[in-house]
Amino acid sequence: MRHLMSPLDFSVDELNKLFDLANDIERNPAKYAHACDGKILATCFYEPSTRTRLSFESAMLRLGGKVLGFSDAASSSASKGESVSDTIRVISGYSDICAMRHPKEGAPMVAAEKSFIPVINAGDGGHHHPTQTLTDLLTIRSLKGSLDNITIGLCGDLKFGRTVHSLIHALVRYQNIKFVFISPVELKVPDYITEMLRTKNIPFEEVIRLEDVMPNLDMLYMTRVQKERFFNEEDYIRLKDFYILDKAKMDLAKEDMLVLHPLPRVNEISVELDDDPRAVYFKQARYGVYVRMALILTLLELAQ
């Protein structure tokens, strides 16, 4: 029995198989509409995350399975003090696979250790959110045709952004990747990541202004710069527009450069770009369902 705890749990070969399956599901949804008949997914969400929970539920329902679960700790037995270990042993009897989100880092791993069914980490605090990374990789591979030979810009909060860190760790396993980190100095990518890239001889550059690098990028991964991350309001006001993607900045980009965003978006991408074919963040959300469908099938050993 396998679980998914970290984006690196699967080898590159295993990911290729997973993404092939996800693409097949995308092309032939009817073929998979009953693949999970009689199976139940438990969504154990100890903190609210509507988008992630609904994408898991959608994935299981589209596979013909059923779902049960809770969407915050207050409506679970955790509010009575039940441990994660006990909860998962009970849930194991109620369902066939579990997606767990928990504010405490490592909670899904504790569940996996005691579980009788596969456990998927659906986000554990600031630690991992592997299905987001799988979604990002599937989106890139599907729309670019490959995960090799990409110059990817990562823009916004690169210091605290969990999705960004996971994506970097996942992409370094592919060939000829170049990273361009675009952020205010206050929100630079952590040193341990740049050290890792130097050790692996993977090229990267760090810049402050998005305009300066737009023409060089094959892919732009946007994240939000949150006001509360700044020490003072003055800096925030001075810098915030640097990290808002609008039509003027997009005009500098290649014709086939893609814009990704883990969503939810607040104001960092102007809505005027939503109809630009290069803005693929809503497509990315759809790939999130396909990759979760493929993951559920794989962990339930129903993938052919």
Partner: protein, 142 residues
């Protein structure tokens, strides 16, 4: 000069950093053993200036010395039998330590989950970095 007699069977842990012998006493749980223990603090040392020494008279299979390497791999472990040094043990950093140190990350599941052991894995042997099994927070960084 303080003199402590020879032991017949057990360990002499030498070259302990001055002042650290009580930490080792606790980690090895010597308080739970019914044996003779001598703790020598701030002994003169040509190599270290000052050092601590622990002499433990017990069955040599009774102690888990893995934890010693985690605390300080420069400690010399002399194994004594019939009053003589029969072996010197090289300390190797353990791949995993359980309930030796506690995860200090307040966001880690170990902070709330009942009776969950605090397990750390050797993540970087060169830099002697241990990381919590659950949250991957550094447990020790020299």
């Amino acid at each position: 000069m303080l003199n402590i007699g020879k032991i017949e069977e057990g360990f002499v842990l030498d070259h302990i950093k001055a002042g650290k012998s009580m930490d080792i006493y606790e980690h090895l749980q010597l308080d739970k053993l019914d044996c003779t223990v001598a703790i020598i603090k701030n002994a003169k040392s040509n190599k270290m200036g000052k050092k601590d020494i622990l002499k433990v008279e017990c069955d040599i299979n009774q102690l888990d010395l893995d934890v010693l390497a985690f605390i300080d791999h420069n400690i010399t472990v002399n194994i004594i039998k019939d009053g003589e040094i029969v072996d010197k043990k090289d300390l190797v950093l353990p791949k995993m330590i359980k309930n030796v140190i506690r995860c200090k990350n307040p966001r880690c599941i170990t902070s709330i989950e009942q009776e969950l052991p605090h397990i750390f894995f050797l993540a970087d042997e060169e830099k002697e970095v241990y990381r919590c099994k659950y949250c991957e927070e550094k447990g020790r960084d020299h």
